[in-house]
Structures are given as C-alpha cells and as structure tokens.
C-alpha cells in the first residue's frame, strides 16, 4: 500500500505494508540510517523520532498511524535551534562511547528542552529514563542537556 509521509520537511511516498513500523521505513526504504533498532518493543528508545515534536518510538509505530504528522529524525533535528544546540553540546562534552543509542538520546533531549528550556535533574530523569545507554554515558548525557540549556553542567545531586 502507498503512504505519503512528511519526513524532515519533505513529502515521501513509500509502498509498504501498513503494519511496517516507521523505523524500518526510515531505515530501509528512505535510507535514513540514523534512527536505530535496539529492542523492537519500545523498551530502549534507540529508535526515537519526533511526531509533531513529540518523542515517539518508531519501532512500534506502524506507518499506517503516521498520517500527516511531521516526522523529525536525527538527520533533520538540527533544523530547530534547540536540536542544533543539543547536537553541539553532545560534541563539546564528548558524550558518546559507542554512539549507537545517541540518536535516540538526542531526540529525547531535544523534545525535553523544547517544552522545558530549564529542566531540573528530576525533569531530566523523567524525560530520559526511557532511553537506554548500554555504555552508561548517563553522566555526560545529563551534563550535555544542561549545557544545551545554558545551565551549569556540574552534577549537583550531592550524596
């Protein structure tokens, strides 16, 4: 079946079964390899994209449910000033180790900062705990979110 979706500001028409998850349409039909497959069940967040700005697990979102929503992926997130700041903070603070989860982390962080420009540690926990990092770069992710927000990056959750 044919679906036309709006990805990073561009209309894309694809011919796939309606049950195909958005993740696999992005990766294997549209050749946007940035969104990653980790669990296939919405448990790890590596596939996170935005639908109308909302962080969404593309591995459990059938293409038939996307409709006219604006899909933003890691490839296009830099178009927003917040996304660009988040990307820059990730590089400046050298967040990644293996880097595999970081597309999803950046998408979740961008959505957080777009709706909440000065998040507390608790806000960061709430927004980011659905995104696993197997290298456990959480210390740097937290600092980079604060840096992108223009907040002091020191971890103040003292013992």
């Amino acid at each position: 079946m044919s679906y036309t979706i709006n990805v990073n500001g561009k209309a894309e028409t694809v011919d796939v079964d309606g049950s195909t998850p958005l993740l696999w349409v992005l990766r294997d039909v549209l050749d946007l390899k940035g969104s990653k497959f980790g669990c296939g069940m919405g448990l790890c967040g590596a596939c996170t994209v935005h639908l109308n700005g909302m962080p969404t697990r593309s591995c459990i979102t059938p293409i038939s449910m996307v409709g006219s929503a604006a899909v933003t992926t890691i490839e296009g997130v830099g178009a927003s000033p917040v996304g660009e700041k988040v990307r820059a903070a990730w590089i400046e603070l050298d967040v990644p180790q293996c880097g595999y989860c970081q597309a999803g982390q950046i998408m979740a962080a961008t959505a957080l900062l777009t709706s909440n420009p000065r998040p507390t540690d608790g806000d960061i926990d709430d927004a980011m705990s659905g995104n696993l990092c197997r290298c456990y770069t959480y210390t740097r992710i937290r600092a980079a979110i604060k840096q992108a927000a223009g907040l002091p990056t020191a971890d103040t959750r003292e013992a």
């Binding site: 079964d17 050749d31 926990d125």
Partner: protein, 775 residues
C-alpha cells in the same frame, strides 16, 4: 586482583620499588612485538608508494600516515572501535609525535592487514598498552621523513630544523617554513634506516600538545547527525535481508519446518534449513562458528522478521534440554558440603591455621549468568561470489572472523575480506564471530548479498554468557585481627567434564593469594550446556564481587576499617611466592602466560595509592550519614589497571537500593592519553558494574534462556545512575587501558555499602530488595 604473579619482577615491585616500572620500556617494546604478532617488525616495512585514493592525492609516509597536498593528515586507526574511544586516542598518539595539527587530522579505520598493522582486535584493554609506545615511534619516524625532506629542499642539516609549529617544518635559524602538505610528496620518497623505530627520538612528555588534552571523539559529528557508521547501517546493491532462527535449546537443531508456507508470505524471498558446522563448538561461546538453524530471506528485514511469527518448527532439542538454573543452584549447595574436586593452590597449612585461629568467618557468595547485550544487535553483511566473500561487520575480532568464515566455507583466508565497521558496543560479545559466518554462509546459499540481523530475543537468547559461579569462603584471624588463613571452594562449570567452561576459571594467583600465609583454593565443576565466554573484565567482573565482598565481611569481623584493612593487607611484608605456572598454560588473563606475562606484575603499592586517594576524596569516615545510608569500598586489579571505588547507598525500608554517589580512583600509569574518553570509560564501567549488580541475571529453564528483552533483562536507566566522580593517581608506570578495569570493583563496593547501611550482606547477585527489607 588476579594475575598477581605475572612476572618475576613482581617480587621486586612488592619489595619497595614502588612507582617504578619493573619492565623497562625497551623490554616492553620487544615484548609488545612478540605479543602483537610482529608489531614492530611490521612498522619497519611501511609502504612507500604514492597512492591516489579518493578525490585527492594522498602521499603515504607509512602504513599509518598519509598526507594530502592541502596538509590534511589521515591517520589509520588499527583496532576496531567499539565505544572504547580507540579511534580517537591512538591517532592522537601518532599525531602528537608527528607534530601534526589536530585540526587537520582525519582518523580512518584501517583495513584488516596483519602485515601492516600486526594484531588488530579490541579485547583485554590491550590496545593502549600494546600500541602506545610503538605508535609514538611511528609518528616520530614520519616526522623525521618530513624534516629530512625540508632539510634537503633548503640544503641544510635536519638538525637545524624543527616542528615547533604544528603541521610545518621550520628552519630554526631563518624561520623559513614548509607545510606538511607541501613536503608530503618528497617526504614519501625518503627511505629511513631499517631500525628507525628503535632509534627514533620521541618527545619529552612535558612537550605534549595533543596527548593529555581532552579531545572529542572523531566520529561524534557523524553520530550526532545520524550518518551511517555502524554494521547495521551497511547497504549493498541487490542486498536482501535475513533472519536466522536457532533452536531455543542450546545445541538443538531443526528437523523440519513449514518452509513452503513461509516462502509464500509477502516480502519473503526464500526460507531454508542451514546445517551447522560440526562440531558446533558448544558450549564454548568463543568456538561457535555456525549453528543449525532456519534462514528466512526477505525484501526487507521487517518482512523476514515478521515471518518468524508464522514459523512452525519441529526441533531436536538435543542433550541439554533438562538443564536449569534451579538445578545448578541446588547442585552447587550440595557440592559445597563435599570435598572439592581439585585443589589448585595450597600455601602453608590451612587446617592447622583455622584450628588455632582466634576467629573464623565463613561466607557464601553466588553470581548468575549475565548477557552482554550491546545495544546494536549482532549483524553482518556479506557478498559471496565466485569463491570469494566480502564481509562488513561490527566486530572486536576481525581476523578470527576471517578465519572462521574461511574454515566453514572451505576457502583460503585470502579469499575472505573483512571490513571493520563501528560497533554499537562490544563488551566482549563481538569477540565471538558466529554472526559473521552466518552472513557469509547465507549469502552463498541465497546467491545474493545478505544482511543478517538478529531481533532482540534472538540476540539475548543466543549469546555466550558470563558464567555463573558459587564461592564458599572461610577466613581465620589471629588475636590481633590479622588474616592468617583463607580458603575458597569455588563451584564452577565444565563443558566436557575436564576443561573449565570458557571464562569460568579462577587463577591460582587470585588475591589474597600471596598475602596470606595459609591459603587454599579449590574447585568443583558442574557440567554446563550453555555457551559461556568473556565479558568486559572476564572472570574479574564476577570474582571481584565475591572476593571483595567477603574480605569486607572479614574486615568488619576483625573490627577494622574496611579501607585500612585492605591497605594493611597490601602492606604485608613477606609475600608467599607463587607456584610456577602449570605447563601448557596459555594466554588470556592468567598470570605467567600470554600477553599479561609480557607486562609488569602486580604492584601492591599502587593498590595502596588508589585506596588512599579514594579515602581522601570520598570523605570516608568523615561523613555523618542518615539511617539506612552507608558507604562501601572495593579495590580490584585487572587488565593492568588499579581501581578503587567507594559508593554511598541508601536502602529504603522496603528494600529498594538507591546509589547516591560513586568516587573512583584509578592508576593506569604515567599518562592519560585522552582524559575526556578516559573519564567516560571509567564512569561507564562503574555504572556497568552497578547495572549488573542491581538487575541482571540470565536464567536457564529446560535448557533455554528465559529472558527475552529489556523488560525482563534490566539495564540501568538515567534515573538510577548516580554521579560518578573520577580521580587519577598518576604514577611513573606503563600507560595502560581503561575499557575494563572499572567494572570489577563496582558490584562489591555497592554490596559493601548496602551491608554498611543495613547490616545485611548481599550473598547472591543480582541484589534482591526482598532480602533488604527493614525488620
């Protein structure tokens, strides 16, 4: 704290030459050459040819360095990048001695080529200790070529030139300068003396401009923009997608399946049985090449994977379908009451020492099977044609993959090309190579290029696992509270009734061996049909928990401060000598053999150094803590790194554990190559250990893995991750690696903090909150 015995020089180090490296740099280089498969010899036969690769002309100075006329310096990174940061740190080392301008450096993954690069793998935290000194010399030798080329152009002596301005050779007297790009063509023609890598002068570290500076990972700009980098991102013209389904019971195989029905599904191209390679190598995870299974080939991976829902298979489950974790737990208790199968170390007279001890403490500790679960599932892409195959894979072990593919396909290794992609995590899992073999075999059988990718359930259920283990400890204290007797009856696993399962062994040198006059290590084995293998800090990641938890228990029983108790133990004046290593003992992390045998031995002074540092930085003993909050410590030496960790935890009345903070002190020698990457590794390593201790266990039922995904196999999440403060103790010792050594002290530091907070010892991992409920 294994490998206390590595070389004879240990004794000297222990006797007081603290802070001095017991193996000289030259000895190390020779050792490195031997260990690294002719590392140095190969550096001295660089390719001197001009090459035109890509749009620009690159001039090759040696196998590692190419320079464009515009002064772009391309530096090859020999080892696979799995998140340990080696693609940044090793090119930094080369660039430093080359006096390149880091702004102009491009790091590139080197091809698999043993002749040019020696051993290429990611394991054992070896990449830094094996390559740091040799790669400095590679950079310095290339710098010499550039200087010589400039001197000839100016008709002056090379000694009159310098490279003070990064990326330029300058005639010191006249300040004339030429860029590396302008010199590249001439420099690539310079022939250096064959022994240049031994004779070339390297910098005084005080002149370092790149090494020691925090530098952001070279692939970060690609990662944050979602560019294709990883194995899973590979794509080839005409490529089809595959899933490969195996029997849920290890060693089982399919008898028949509804293949015709599967082939009729939309998007499915083909489905067929794949016979495994005999023997399959089970249950040694590292030896598995190809297991029996069913391949489904699809136009998309989603279609192939969705077809699994409709797949009906009759399996022959094989001989291990009766095994279960419950059964092993029961057998281990039973074995602990019987005499051990084998005593593998006995110093002094343990029975006599226990009989005369003022106090005797006994403690049992158990840990489960653990899976690696790198976030990028196992995958590989292969193109087989005309007796040759090309494979792209996220791998820690490309040469082994090449060999395994050649063996299974029955073609010479020269017909197998392996390309290393960036790997979405490794942790030891990608030392195994069976997924690379699967891609090659499926491409041959399907007659098209194939990308084979596992879903998470397949990935978690067909790993090789960190083996479980059970320790039955007994310690004796004299009236002064000094440890005078120590025994461990270790219940572990065998794959064949004789040999220990992969990574299920404990060394005779495991601490506190040598530091206690009467000591016995013994083991009994259970037959295991589940594949096991190395996981980040193999053996140490489990032994650290057991030994450091029990030693903490002993310290408390002795009425001593846990940090001071450990320091006193390390300051034991007379060490018991190690027995000679058994004949035929090979490499790995065992003392006396393999790569570690070439490296300096354990130095107790360095252990004391990090314990003192972490005591000071954590405010140990100085903090006023609320009820059910406690601090715990652990120290462990592994992969040449000395790491002490203190944790503060709070245990809720209903038993849930919150880690408040981690303080970590590390001694990995005289130089931290890239402080940014180094701190990241240490923080991640400590959190990895916490994650394992809090939530991770693979359980076996009827010969199969019970867990399926990240809901029943839990990794630490952001809201559970405490701040981790890192401190380095810089000592004048060899520069060593950081990928692994922060993991082993984390579980025991956490469990010891729980004991301090609640008075309850964690006898079994993962931590069960029900055992910590306030009463």
């Amino acid at each position: 704290m294994a490998r206390l015995s590595a070389v004879q020089t240990t004794e000297k180090g222990a006797a007081g030459s603290a802070g001095r490296e017991s193996v000289s740099r030259r000895a190390f280089l020779v050792a490195g050459a031997a260990a690294g498969g002719g590392l140095l010899i190969n550096f001295s036969v660089p390719v001197f040819a001009e090459t035109a690769s890509g749009p620009r002309r690159r001039y090759t100075l040696n196998a590692y360095i190419q320079i464009d006329p515009d002064s772009t310096v391309t530096i090859m990174s020999k080892c696979p990048e799995i998140g340990q940061g080696i693609k940044t740190s090793l090119p930094m080392v080369v660039a430093e001695e080359l006096d390149a301008d880091w702004k102009n450096v491009v790091a590139e993954q080197a091809p698999l080529d043993a002749r040019a690069y020696g051993a290429q793998f990611a394991g054992g935290s070896f990449s830094t200790p094996m390559n740091y000194e040799p790669l400095r010399r590679v950079g310095a030798a290339a710098r010499e070529m550039l200087v010589t080329a400039a001197a000839r152009a100016w008709h002056v002596k090379p000694e009159e030139c310098d490279t003070q301005i990064a990326g330029f050779v300058r005639h010191t007297g006249t300040s004339r300068k030429l860029s590396y790009g302008a010199l590249a063509a001439k420099a690539s023609q310079i022939k250096l003396a064959p022994d240049v890598l031994r004779t070339v002068k390297v910098k005084d570290p005080k002149d370092f401009r790149i090494i020691g500076k925090p530098i952001s990972g070279v692939d970060n700009p690609l990662i944050v923009t979602g560019q294709p980098l990883f194995g899973i991102d590979m794509s080839l013209p005409g490529m089809k997608y595959a899933v490969f389904e195996k029997c849920p019971v290890f060693g089982g195989r399919p008898v028949s399946a509804n293949l015709d029905a599967i082939k009729a599904l939309p998007g499915v191209r083909d489905a067929f049985l794949v016979p495994g390679a005999r023997p399959t190598g089970l249950p040694d995870g590292m030896a598995i090449t190809l297991q029996d299974g069913i391949a489904i080939i699809g136009d998309s991976w989603w279609a192939a994977n969705a077809a699994l829902d409709k797949l009906v298979v009759q399996w022959n489950e094989g001989p291990v379908a009766s095994q279960s974790t419950e059964q092993f737990d029961r057998m281990a208790v039973d074995l602990s009451t019987k005499p051990p199968g084998q005593v593998f170390r006995h110093d002094g007279d343990v029975d006599k020492a226990f009989a005369s001890a003022a106090k005797v403490i006994e403690g049992q500790y158990a840990y489960p099977l653990v899976a690696h679960t790198p976030l990028e599932p196992m995958n590989a892409t292969a193109r087989y044609a005309d007796g040759q195959v090309e494979v792209w894979a996220p791998t820690q072990n490309p040469a082994a993959g090449q060999g395994a593919i050649a063996k299974v396909l029955g073609i010479p290794p020269s017909k197998v090309t392996v390309h290393m992609t960036r790997a979405g995590g490794g942790f030891g899992r990608r030392l195994g190579t069976e997924y690379m073999v699967e891609a090659a075999v499926l491409s041959k059988m399907a007659g098209v290029p194939i990308k084979v990718l596992r879903n998470r359930k397949q990935d978690i259920q067909h790993e090789f696992y960190r083996p479980a283990g059970y320790h039955n400890f007994k310690a004796g204290l004299d009236s002064a509270g000094t440890l005078v007797a120590f025994r461990d009856h270790f219940i572990t696993f065998t794959s064949d009734g004789e040999k220990l399962s992969n990574s299920a062994n404990m060394d005779a040198t495991e601490f506190p061996a040598r530091f206690v006059p009467n000591l016995q290590y013994a083991q009994s084995m259970m037959l295991l049909g589940v594949p096991t293998g190395p996981m980040r800090a193999p053996q140490s990641n489990a032994l650290g928990y057991a030994f450091q938890s029990f030693l903490d228990e002993v310290a408390v029983a002795a009425g001593k401060d846990p940090i001071q108790f450990r320091i006193d133990l390390f300051n034991t004046p007379h060490l018991v000598p190690n027995p000679p290593p058994p004949r035929g003992r090979g490499g790995g992390r065992r003392g006396g053999g393999g790569l570690f045998g070439m490296m300096p031995g354990f130095n107790p002074k360095r252990a004391v150094g990090v314990l003192e540092l972490v005591r000071e930085k954590s405010g140990w003993g100085q903090r006023k803590l609320p009820p059910r909050t406690g601090m715990g410590v652990a120290f462990y030496y592994s992969h040449l790194g000395y790491i002490a960790e203190v944790m503060q935890v709070t245990v809720a009345r209903e038993g849930t554990v919150k880690v408040d903070k981690v303080w970590l002190a590390a001694d990995v020698g005289r130089q931290i190559v890239n402080p940014s990457g180094a701190i990241n590794q240490l923080q991640g390593g400590a959190l990895d250990g916490i994650s394992q201790a809090l939530g991770q266990a693979i359980t076996i039922d009827r010969g199969r893995v019970v867990q399926t995904n990240f809901d029943d196999y839990q990794l630490l999440r952001m809201n559970q991750a405490p701040p981790v403060e890192v401190f380095f103790n810089i000592t004048d010792n060899m520069v060593t690696g950081l990928g692994e050594p922060a993991v082993p002290p984390a579980p025991p530091a956490l469990c010891n903090a729980i004991a301090a907070a609640t008075g309850k010892r964690v006898r079994k991992l993962p931590i069960d909150p029900a055992t910590l409920v306030a009463t």
